[in-house]
């Protein structure tokens, strides 16, 4: 989410996840509390024995306060299921928050690498190396014909989920997004909206990922996702060009109003913030707003989420309190950045 990396005007992030299980234990659903503790300890000890891995932050998720678990979810370091589950479970996170290893999620291990922009190949390189190193210390459940065995048959084989998060506001405005969905589904790719505070899909962010995990190699699965993304990027750029040439005033007005609300609102929900930030993000990309950078917007997407605001404030807040805190944070941040940009120009 740093706003850097290839195609980062449209591609927010690239993520690869591997599901692995230890051969000597039942899958999580059939694990006793003692089994969960043993797995947690075993993986923790082995992770520490790997050179270069001892610098990982290691957090016992079951011992964290609710707001801290939510905070990790908002930073996409653990899944919502992992945050809300019960029993011994943990997560190991590297310094720059690109690598995280969830222990005792749906599978014993869920290894994840995330990169800014479209960068699946380097994500694969890193996760493959981590997986090899872990596998040299742990015995994975592996079947000669079916590959890596997982708690859910939908993950069996490579255990790999490759996903790319895209920002596609112009395809949404021009009503072409459904067409893109249909064509992706035809080639075995899943499309999901980015979810907000509740479970409501949020406007213009879409995650594309592989649906099948068996019968294709990891490289083929990555190839399938990374092959289709440039086509979607090209569509989105074409739609943006169309909007700006055909309807510049309306587009500029919509974006400026969105920016205006973010700069002045006194109370604002996370849903509205996401929608408005989405418009402003496109405005920055199109050069219609020049006192913000993409990295600012990406940062705001993360930091205006509920747990982030509560951590920032240092105490628990109800929905109304969060909406006020969010508006205050946005006003201050945008005012400061705007001033810095104006100073730089003078």
């Amino acid at each position: 989410m740093r706003g850097s990396g290839p195609e980062s005007d449209i591609v927010i992030s690239s993520r690869i996840r591997l599901a692995r299980n230890l051969a000597e234990f039942p899958f999580i659903r059939r694990c006793s509390p003692q089994d969960r503790k043993s797995i947690e300890k075993m993986v923790h000890d082995r992770l520490h024995a790997i050179p270069g891995f001892n610098a990982l932050y290691y957090l016992r998720v079951d011992e964290l306060a609710h707001v801290d678990r939510q905070f990790l979810t908002e930073r996409q370091l653990i899944s919502r299921e992992h945050a809300e589950a019960e029993g011994a479970r943990s997560v190991a996170i590297d310094n720059d928050e690109r690598l995280s290893v969830m222990i005792n999620e749906e599978d014993h291990l869920r290894i994840q690498v995330m990169k800014s922009g479209l960068d699946l190949h380097s994500a694969w390189q890193q996760i493959n190396e981590v997986d090899d190193q872990l596998e040299s210390k742990l015995t994975y459940a592996f079947h000669e014909r079916l590959g890596y065995l997982t708690a859910c048959p939908t993950n069996v084989g490579t255990g790999m989920r490759v996903s790319v998060m895209l920002h596609l506001p112009a395809l949404v405005i021009t009503n072409q997004i459904e067409k893109v969905f249909r064509s992706l589904q035809k080639i075995n790719l899943a499309v999901r909206g980015l979810y907000g505070e509740g479970s409501q899909a949020m406007g213009d962010f879409y995650q594309i990922s592989n649906q099948i995990t068996l019968g294709k190699s990891e490289e083929e699965l990555i190839g399938q996702v990374s092959g289709v993304v440039p086509m979607i990027i090209a569509y989105e750029r074409k739609a943006r060009d169309f909007l700006i040439t055909q309807n510049r005033e309306d587009l500029h007005d919509k974006i400026s109003r969105a920016y205006g609300i973010l700069c002045t609102a006194q109370t604002i929900s996370s849903e509205e913030t996401m929608h408005l930030l989405s418009s402003v993000r496109m405005g920055v990309n199109l050069g219609l707003i020049d006192d913000l950078a993409i990295s600012d917007i990406n940062k705001l997407f993360v930091e205006t989420q509920p747990a982030h605001l509560q951590k920032l404030r240092g105490n628990e807040l109800d929905t109304a309190g969060r909406n006020i805190e969010r508006a205050l944070y946005l006003r201050r941040y945008l005012q400061d950045r705007g001033k810095e940009h104006r100073d730089e120009r003078n």
Binding site: D131, Y140, K186
Partner: protein, 169 residues
């Protein structure tokens, strides 16, 4: 045969028995998934879809009596019944892929369109599935020995586990 909703080959054949007459549907995996997800059961998206797929698959293949018998089938390693798997959509241990193999295989082919792994293999501990099942079994035995405070037996089992893990079995 083509999928009734798109151009892809139909790999999923559903016989709906809820109406007056059996109603046949021929769909590709995606359309079948979305059909099953949007149909009854509710809940989170993956589980009903998986449970739904199994449900329909079994409806076509077996009589109620056979199905009830199948549901009672229990994995000797982790103790999960086929009924529990059908309901929860999650397996209990790696051995379930072998012990429920004949029911899981068509489901796996429906989901992935394939039944042969083509990706990476672990480089270090390459055990057979039987050795891996033996590992879970030994692990359970060790827990039981420790509970009974039979530490001599527990240490024998531990040595046996190490042998398998180090590839000396």
């Amino acid at each position: 045969m083509k999928c009734q909703q798109c151009e892809k080959p139909a790999t999923f054949h559903i016989t709906e028995l809820t109406g007056e007459k059996p109603h046949e549907l021929h769909l590709c995996e995606q359309c079948a998934q979305s059909y099953l997800t949007n149909n009854p059961s509710g809940g989170t998206p993956i589980q009903p879809s998986l449970a739904g797929m199994l449900h329909h698959q079994l409806k076509v293949a077996d009589t109620a009596k056979e199905l009830a018998k199948l549901d009672e089938q229990v994995c000797p390693i982790c103790g999960i019944s086929f009924y529990e798997f059908r309901n929860q959509g999650r397996l209990g241990c790696p051995h379930d892929y072998t012990c429920f193999g004949s029911e899981l295989e068509p489901l796996i082919v429906n989901i992935h369109g394939d039944s042969q792994h083509a990706g990476k293999h672990p480089k270090h501990h390459q055990q057979t599935s039987q050795e891996q099942t033996r590992l879970i079994q030994l692990h359970n035995d060790m827990k039981a020995a420790v509970e009974k405070e039979d530490y001599e037996r527990a240490s024998q089992i531990r040595d046996e586990i190490r042998k398998i893990e180090d590839g000396q079995s």
